[in-house]
Symmetry: C2
Subunit: 235 residues, 2 copies
């Protein structure tokens, strides 16, 4: 095979991976901004997040096209094929993260129409943890660092514990004051969306593991919050 | 190329597509059973749904392995490559549908620990619509029928309207009786999960369209329930 073909293939694969990293940056900023917007009741910031989601969607479509072209024309094997498939998978998770951040922001617009509720501290804490996990897992992808990916993968329970305590807190607020039921219902979904962003970080960690090692992560995935909720279901 | 190779490739591709159809059957039965279990307060059925989710997960992992092997060894192009990628994508949506049905069933176990609430009619109606859409979109995949896929894709608003009315109804119940807040919070998530199964049907419809025509569906996706919720946010 002439040298320039090999180079050009490596360049194409690198372009795919760079595009995933850019999508990652977008999803990261949307996550952080959506949390800040809901905590600070910042309508303008929430609106900016909602608009930014179109960029993530467009980036995903573009990336899928790029991967299909690459696989069809270059027919990569082994680690190169894993690179292409990992990019495809991670782009899917990032697109979902963008959607979830957008949904948090849409709920922020609604929440800002009624009186503030004193409980965004829990949302803020949980949001920071999840934003940190997203940063870490994107770094693990950039560095093809399995150990770092595994450490993100192991941290899922921390987010679940926060979600669990927020769920209780919100139900208590609702019971204390029926006028808070509407806003609190939206905050329940905000909390759930943050937790789901965490789940997508876990997915990405699994993909990085597969990309680098060629194997699935062994063992059971950290338990989901569904289990946690069961204990507090009859308040 | 010797004839037996061609045949064997077609057979492999058919096996992939058959496995997607089987996963579809599993996801469909989980959806229907999870709705029936929550409506009838059937704990045994809910537990069966939860167990069945492992099968869907295993089927997805198997299917991804199959597709990777097929793409790596056979290096398909054009419609054959689209077949492989569509199978991969649809399997991802079906796995998520299985997760959502499992989550509905876990909440059913919780709900069955407290007194029944008279509002499962809305859940039942919404559940039937979504189960019908899932059946239709799986049929459209089996028949490679774009028109049928498009008709599923267009029906998203109907589910949103039901979700919207359920959301209102549940908040009203919560306000009337604080003891219902816990169970109603779980039902909010059950309703959301049903709506999300509907979203995955929309995704699958988009994939079938891409598979058959090689092009993305034009125009905006039917609007999501986020919009709907905004109008009823300050009850």
């Amino acid at each position: 095979m002439p040298d320039h073909t090999v180079k050009s293939f490596a360049t194409e694969l690198e372009a795919v991976s760079t595009n995933v990293a850019r999508m990652g940056g977008l999803a990261e900023s949307m996550t952080t901004d959506s949390i800040n917007a809901v905590v600070r009741r910042d309508t303008a910031l929430a609106e900016a997040v909602i608009l930014r989601d179109q960029k993530v969607d467009a980036a995903q479509r573009e990336l899928e096209r790029q991967v299909i072209k690459l696989v069809a024309l270059r027919q990569p094997v082994a680690v190169d094929l894993r690179e292409a498939l990992a990019a495809w998978k991670i782009a899917g998770d990032l697109e979902r993260i963008g959607d979830l951040a957008k949904n948090i922001s849409k709920r922020t617009l609604v929440l800002n129409q009624s009186d503030p509720i004193q409980l965004t501290r829990g949302i803020e804490r949980m949001g920071r943890i999840v934003a940190g996990r997203l940063k870490d897992v994107l770094d693990s992808y950039s560095a093809r660092d399995v150990r770092r990916a595994l450490s993100v993968w192991m941290q899922d329970d921390e987010v679940d514990a926060h979600y669990n305590s927020l769920f209780r807190e919100l139900l208590t607020y609702m019971m204390e004051d029926p006028r808070k039921i509407g806003p609190c219902a939206h905050l329940l979904f905000v909390a759930k969306n943050i937790e789901r962003i965490g789940d997508h970080c876990t997915n990405i960690a699994e993909t990085v593991h597969y990309l680098v090692t060629g194997e699935d992560i062994g063992g059971e995935r950290p338990k989901s919050s569904d289990e946690a909720e069961r204990g507090i279901s009859a308040p």
